[in-house]
Symmetry: C2
Subunit: 461 residues, 2 copies
Amino acid sequence: MDLIENLSIKDLYRLHEEGKLSEYDQKEVTLGGFVKANRTFGDVGFLAINDGSTFLNAQIVYKSSDNDALMAKLGASVKAKGVLHVTPENKQPFEVVTEHVELIGGVDESFPLQKKKTSFEYLRNYPQWRMKTNTFNAVFRVRSTLAYYIHEYFHSHGYYWIHTPILTANDCEGEGQTFNVIADEKHPEEYFNKENVHLTVSGQLHVEPFALTYGKVYTFGPTFRAEKSNTVRHAAEFWMIEPEIAWAHLSDLCDIEEEFLKYVVSHTMVDCKDDLNFFAQFVDKGLMDRLNEFVNTPFARVKYEDAIKILQNAVKDGVKFDVSDIQFGLDLGSEHERYLTEKVFKGPIFLTDYPKDIKAFYMKQNDDGKTVGAVDLLVPYIGELCGGSEREADYNKLLSRMEELGMNIPAYQWYLDLRRNGSIPHSGFGLGFERLVMLVTGMNNIRDTLPYPRCYKDMMF
Amino acid sequence: MDLIENLSIKDLYRLHEEGKLSEYDQKEVTLGGFVKANRTFGDVGFLAINDGSTFLNAQIVYKSSDNDALMAKLGASVKAKGVLHVTPENKQPFEVVTEHVELIGGVDESFPLQKKKTSFEYLRNYPQWRMKTNTFNAVFRVRSTLAYYIHEYFHSHGYYWIHTPILTANDCEGEGQTFNVIADEKHPEEYFNKENVHLTVSGQLHVEPFALTYGKVYTFGPTFRAEKSNTVRHAAEFWMIEPEIAWAHLSDLCDIEEEFLKYVVSHTMVDCKDDLNFFAQFVDKGLMDRLNEFVNTPFARVKYEDAIKILQNAVKDGVKFDVSDIQFGLDLGSEHERYLTEKVFKGPIFLTDYPKDIKAFYMKQNDDGKTVGAVDLLVPYIGELCGGSEREADYNKLLSRMEELGMNIPAYQWYLDLRRNGSIPHSGFGLGFERLVMLVTGMNNIRDTLPYPRCYKDMMF
């Protein structure tokens, strides 16, 4: 039990910030972690170790006659009992002076990390080691912190977390290609007595009945797309958050989305400030400005129709787009979205009331007969962060739309029936979790936000 | 926005418990939810509605001339603005008297729930409706609350949540049959450039490297077994929690497991007391005694070898087991486990130091050469709740054991390498989330703890 009941490095930095570290001055502490750096000057040596509790390292001061300490190379794990010295005059607010560093696990020639800067691509070959580098150490801490505050926000706001299924025979039509799941290749239909069982692309349809009973619910789980796209923004396996709220109309949904995202991001900015400082210094210089703007500025709300007019006027004024024939009905490209968020509104925007033909069957049909109550949240440099809508709550309108689209009605009868038994107006959105991690860290490849990325042609153990 | 910023039924009961509800007496409130019961007496009618925020219903008093109210059958959704009356003399501490009940969504003849008692089996055919019954309404509220406190415990104790992959080509050997995942049946290997991609049976191997960097980590996600077993305790898709803790040895692991479980269960007992009262009254009479014992009594710790002696003596004393040839090496059956927990120790026990031949390859080899540092937590009436171990941290010992078992070493080289670069002693356990839900609710079929159960021969949309 020696180490695990001790103070962590994070605890020590927190005590320092609270002005209480002097209480530990000259006291004995035990630290353990992995080695980030090791150097000697004459009689003394300095080990920088990290225990994962925070981005910051602790400095261990040892005697250069200590052979264990000398052998503690980058990546090795060590433990050291010593005396804490508060060092207000130094860059680090404290150091631990030890008689002996215990080398718990050394490293050998098979260890691929080195002191020099390594590319993110190279590190993707080593998902079991890359979290020991500064960047990935910070990425996964931020990822976990964001995930925690997502649950915390929902719990404190009266939402219930519903574990919608991963395996399904029924799914959000038109959301893309799916992976099939088979227990036995010779008898693929035998296990579940179903012709086609696949991995879910969205928990929305399955979570809607829970919203109609519990009022406020959400999903947070893995989601899958089998598209053969090899881009920096697509993964075959990623995590989604899908809140679904009874009684909420489209403008309520925007209010909730904005409050939720600002809550999660601002809490993470406090908890992970040292990680974010690192990203702002080494990964994305503009990060802090963008995040501060994100949490402090109201998100604009723009109707799709008005966005089209803005873009049409921009074309008249000489702005060049690859697609410049801009008409109602156009599925906006990222060049148009970026122009709107980065040049016109200079911040996140809710784009609402899209043409029904470019949106999903379950979205609420507006009275104009041509648009639906959809909303996408577009963010500068990130693009679409969330997509949502009010759901069509009228049985006949939903049925007509599904027939119009030639959908398999019997397979969706259970879903349609939610509109004839205890129907309530309701709305929801989906947030791709990795996009949020990218927004907050400045990392620009989804592979570098996932512990073990699973992408087209790309999967390590 | 009308309803969603109002007080929920849970808020009103909380105000009552805090002695503050009188502040709302004679004030206007708006409630919405689905109808649990509706009856009239002469000029007045009484609607019991539930909004999902709590197990408890609110009573709406209406005029029997109100046609909307009269049509609000079981399962219909309604909204009512009215005046709150604090009613200390009644069973319910308050009621809402309304001029008019708004019928938001009626029910028709397709709605399968009725006022009479229905079997759990029947309700499994209606995963989209069953959460409107008392039992399932409570089950999924308890499920969500347990899940929240799991995250809350880990976050407040310095753990990071790691999203280990669902798709994997590498897995916990010998943990059972797996589901294969295929993007394209004609070219099954094409998508990931891998021969065999399957759904994970455990995140343990993938989370271990994170424990060696971050110290304390856990997984919480879906897990899959393709076994063709049709029992009340097996599902093809279920959720697992797998904490992994650096520096922890076997006794530390028991300490953590016990503290963690008591924390999660006791917080849920407070938050969901009305749900649990219902289960104790209608599902499992012994529930409250068992849960109180669970959170208040220290869990016993017993070595496997001593358990064998206890069982051997029991056989000598005339206790009858189906398997009564009890020798070191026996994989205990549930009859033996129940005897130990229910008759001998009368409470949960940690059974430790199992024979290596009945446990997994990665467990720490004890000095006796025949046992490993494994621990199962056995609970009366539930059986095994958690299984864990200290992990073998020595490269050569782990390699020999894997060779002995004829494992595919190259596929596990990355895992082996964790023992030669920065190795740290570490331990972890796995908790099947649905078993915890069964423990806390008294439900005895895993299908009745899952929103959409996926079992052998059993899967609804």
